[in-house]
Amino acid sequence: MNCRDFLKELNDYLDGELDPKLRAELSEHLTWCHNCFVVCNTTKQTIEIYRENAIYELPEALREKLHTAIITKCKKSDKGSA
């Protein structure tokens, strides 16, 4: 297992989608390769930061306005006409 091999599997490693044998090999690589450990760790943080700090939230006032507009348009429309 070298760094290039590790990077190829990084997604599945982070997503927990690997068979236990390959996962163990990747974990072993991380015990001695500091660079891959840092890349793995900061990539995981990248995902978590985007997940936990949802940008572009829909403001509640706008949300209600959109609901009214959508439901009104739906009621006026005929299903199957688009």
């Binding site: 290039r4 990084l10 299903k79």
Partner: protein, 214 residues
């Protein structure tokens, strides 16, 4: 290092609502609207980077879904189907805004820039705490905007909205390997770009590790 948990929920309720809405139950459709409007808005704004366009996308996507409920075959989840409609609407908005008819999910995906880890710098355990919520949102927004649309869309669907790889592929009309390749490059590019804000100032080194064969 533990894997990241996927909290994407089950869809029994969704199916019942779709069936009721199909029979004309507007309250059921409104529940679907309330379930997914925030997600669709986030996806739309991540693609268009324009609040008004994102509002239009939400309206148009739900209206189109409603009009075509009878054509929804139920082979996929309603949400995946809705995302597919919304992504197409958002791409159309982006094309209009850019006056560029060639904008697509395949734009710039062949460039290798920024996918290969160049800067290997560790971050603090919670680096986002060094910024106010407003500053942090600006950083995250600016950073993701720098990615090609095909990368940022895959990242938002997989990592923010937590669709599975297969659902993302279905929603975007891409193959599973294409989704995986784009997701890896999106994650690595975002990580690299966030380094400038989140990296610890000391012990900073610039070394290169092997690049994946994306």
């Amino acid at each position: 290092m533990p894997a990241i948990q996927n909290t994407y929920g089950d869809t029994g309720v969704e199916l019942e609502l779709v069936q009721s809405a199909r029979k004309g139950d507007m309250a059921a459709f409104e529940k679907l609207l309330k379930l997914y409007d925030r997600k669709i808005f986030r996806i739309a704004q991540n693609i268009t980077h324009h609040a008004e366009d994102a509002e239009d996308v939400v309206q148009e996507a739900f209206l189109k879904a409603y009009k075509n409920l009878d054509r929804f075959e139920g082979n996929s989840k309603f949400y995946t189907w809705l995302v597919r409609i919304a992504v197409n609407e958002a791409l159309m908005k982006l094309r209009k805004r850019k006056s560029d008819k060639t904008v697509s999910l395949d734009e710039d995906v062949d460039t290798e820039d920024g996918s290969m880890p160049r800067e290997i710098a560790d971050w603090a355990p919670t680096p986002e705490q060094n910024y106010s919520q407003t500053e942090l949102r600006e950083i995250l927004s600016k950073t993701i905007q720098g990615l090609p649309v095909g990368f940022r869309t895959v990242f938002v669907l997989r990592d923010v909205e937590q669709l599975s790889t297969e659902e993302t592929a279905e929603a975007l009309g891409l193959s599973v390997p294409a989704v995986k390749s784009r997701l890896l490059r999106a994650r690595l590019q975002l990580r690299e770009r966030l380094n400038r804000y989140f990296a610890k100032k000391k012990k900073k080194t610039t070394q290169t590790v092997g690049a994946p064969n994306a």
